[in-house]
Symmetry: C2
Subunit: 452 residues, 2 copies
């Protein structure tokens, strides 16, 4: 009997998950994973915490070595193998062995594309200097750590105020650098509500980060040793010993596009709920794919590990003959900005307006536990609601310990299309050391429903 | 124009809430609240934390003084007034002024009964000694604190291993007493799952509490000064300087019963969703009432402040001419047992079996955040599920920081009758400092759905 041949392209996060799921679903399948670097299954989201020293051993970010993935999950792992072309009708891919340069073709019955994303570039001079780093691979993490340990940079410039920009601000402050964060808009963290973003700026500044607003980088000025020493912008020049580029990512779709696999309007690969592309037997998952936003019902591009993992499981299971579906996501994100927990679930008020909802919002600030208990903190909850359906569409939360968990509770309401009234009826726990009589979620919903 | 006369009987928690809501709903109504003690609006749930010293100022447990309730909420407050009889057809109550002994009748258009609950008694000799305390009123709190401060007890015996027993164990250990906790069953905290209860015993014992299992108290032996010095049980005698009785509570229904207001099978007052009793114009809320369990659809008796508050709002609003409903509760409870957070949402596996569900359970233990992050902790999640409907009926959680919040997220699923599959599809936050890639809730649901 011929074994089912499942090939997986890309090994950072979605790839290994999809491959492992496929092998588990169909133990007789022959699952082969190709990865162009020497690392698979890397916890990139933890990189800022390895760089800061909060996680003491960077090696622990490697979830599976290629060897362990092979022996424990029964996958053939080919690192330093770059897939150069997909031939959908021939059911074949062409692969280059990066070390030898040899090119070999592999036939597949099922193909899973998990090519991930690439960091956006600045496209200015000096960008490839040896002290300019992205945070998008194990190599990046190791290079940043090595550079800090050997050259003891004093000044750092971070370009881009998204999630990675926040995490790296904290990380480099912990390594005792002076940090300037250059952002091209007025406020960081696009997609969050204005007040949340203002609070983030406050937290950055309270912790010694210079946040430079509406900054356009013109050039990265190098010294003789090919190190950037100054960042030139429309807002002046910033001396620096280290530059981090955190400008977001774009999906890696060249291989797919070349094979006439359909991309969505977002520019990422479009799949059905089974994670199958427009071509039979070719699946895709992770940062190269778009995902259905269950709040709007429309595709969105949101490269998150949570979504990648789910898509990967579904792609892997279906490639192996199973019948799984991934029904979509709401966008559920949190980040620690020094002492502040910031979380978003669902869509923003701007997105809600664009999607045609009749938007009302409600913001409250309340104690996270009974007011008189020690170690208490404040949490702000903003609900984004639709006046027609009375649904909760999104929420921003920021505050102390427990903010993220509360966001998850609201996330469930958003995902399952509950109304503000439904949320106001949540039977939530009251226990003085943990939660007040009226949880901030309930306070927000009780106020919010008056606007419906 | 005649003003609507709303009378409220009982001022601890539900009473003031109901009265305030009524006054807010109908500012022209004349709202009068009767309370037999001198204290209204007291945060009894915080009492153990005032006794332990965690809350530094016990006075802060008084949410509203009678004066503030009067001036800020527009309620006439009559403390030290005991309602002795309700005349439903005459629309009248008979009230005794406790100080003067005078008896006066008050007419009502609407009546709200919030008579609360009373602590269960042990019914053994010595129970009324001056060093034996319940934790059920401000007087109790103050007496316990005064006794500890003046007599410096070294040994304490707590009788009853429910939530208050747990909190008082921690409280008295913080006051440096040796604590023996006597419980009539094998394990504490009836209603939780066996393993949760075992873990609680372990936590008690790790923190120096002697947990005495299957203990039946025969007598409280007094010395010449009317102080209990020894607790005699079937499991031996326990020397003591201080006894706490935490045996649970029973609803105060004598007034209602006498007025032929219907009680439910639980023994508490039965109301409809508008919190109206079987008698028109007479409402009830709080610990004297039963509540609909939305998981089983049946009434339950569960005296919790969260439920009392909601019922109070609804009773107050409706008494004032509004149209509010309280649709029921799931039972959502948490307690801190020293370093452990313990939470329950929904029904137990025993209750589920009794209610005729086809029960399956799934228990997992997982990291509360990304495994390699510092200050991580383990959390155990047990799901109680119904194989026929595939619904999640209940959950127990115990572990470190964040356990209670996770319970709330599962609580929403339970309240809104979601399936295990629905829960497994929750789009939850992954952020290394707060939550792992697969939240423990998702791990539990992913495993649990295999049993459906």
């Amino acid at each position: 009997v011929k074994r089912l041949r499942i090939l997986v392209i890309g090994g950072l996060a979605a790839g290994p998950s999809a491959a492992a799921k496929a092998a588990r679903t169909n133990p007789r399948a022959e699952v082969t994973l190709f990865e162009q670097t020497d690392t698979v299954s890397y916890g990139l989201c933890e990189a800022p915490y390895a760089i800061s020293g909060e996680v003491l051993d960077e090696k622990k970010l490697v979830v599976y070595t290629p060897e362990r993935l092979q022996t424990e999950k029964g996958i053939v792992v080919k690192t330093l193998h770059r897939v150069e072309k997909i031939f959908p009708t021939k059911h074949e891919i062409r692969v280059r062995d990066v070390r030898s340069g040899d090119v070999v073709s592999y036939e597949f019955d099922k193909l899973i594309i998990t090519t991930g994303s690439s960091p956006r570039r600045l496209n200015v001079e000096g960008e490839d200097s040896r002290n300019v780093f992205h945070v998008s691979s194990r190599e990046d993490t190791l290079n940043i750590m090595k550079y800090i340990d050997s050259e003891h940079p004093k000044n750092a410039v971070i370009i881009g105020g998204g999630y990675i920009g926040m995490e790296m601000s904290e990380s480099l402050r912990k390594r005792e650098m002076d940090v300037a964060l250059l952002h091209r808009h007025k406020l960081p963290m696009a997609g969050l509500e204005e007040k949340t973003r203002e609070r983030v700026v406050e937290e950055l500044e309270n912790n010694g980060v210079r946040f430079i607003t509406n900054a356009r980088v013109d050039a990265l000025l190098q010294d003789a040793s090919r190190k950037v020493v100054s960042v030139h912008t429309n807002k002046g020049s910033y001396e620096t010993d280290l530059v981090i580029l955190s400008l977001g990512v774009t999906p890696n779709v060249a291989l797919a596009k070349d094979a006439r696999i359909r991309l969505g309007l977002t520019g990422a690969i479009s799949t059905d709920q089974r994670q199958q592309t427009n071509i039979d037997n070719i699946y895709s998952a992770g940062d190269c794919c778009e995902v259905k936003n269950v709040v709007t019902g429309k595709p969105m591009y949101i490269p998150l590990a949570t979504i990648a993992s789910r898509q990967a499981w579904v792609a892997g299971e279906n490639a192996a003959g199973g019948k799984a579906t991934f029904t979509g996501a709401i966008r559920a994100i949190a980040v620690r900005v020094f002492g502040l927990e910031v979380a978003q679930v669902g869509i923003s008020s701007d997105e809600a307006r664009e999607a045609g909802f009749d938007v009302a919002t409600q913001e409250i600030t309340a104690w996270s536990k009974v007011g008189i208990m020690p170690d208490n903190s404040r949490v702000t909850v903003k609900l984004i609601m639709d006046k027609r359906s009375k649904r909760v569409l999104g929420a921003n939360l920021f505050g102390g310990n427990g903010t993220t968990s509360r966001a998850n509770t609201l996330g469930v309401a958003i995902q399952y299309k509950m109304t503000v009234e439904d949320v106001s009826r949540f039977d939530m726990i009251y226990a003085p050391p943990f939660a007040p009589l009226w949880d901030p979620i309930l306070i927000a919903a009780n106020e919010g429903k008056k606007k419906m």
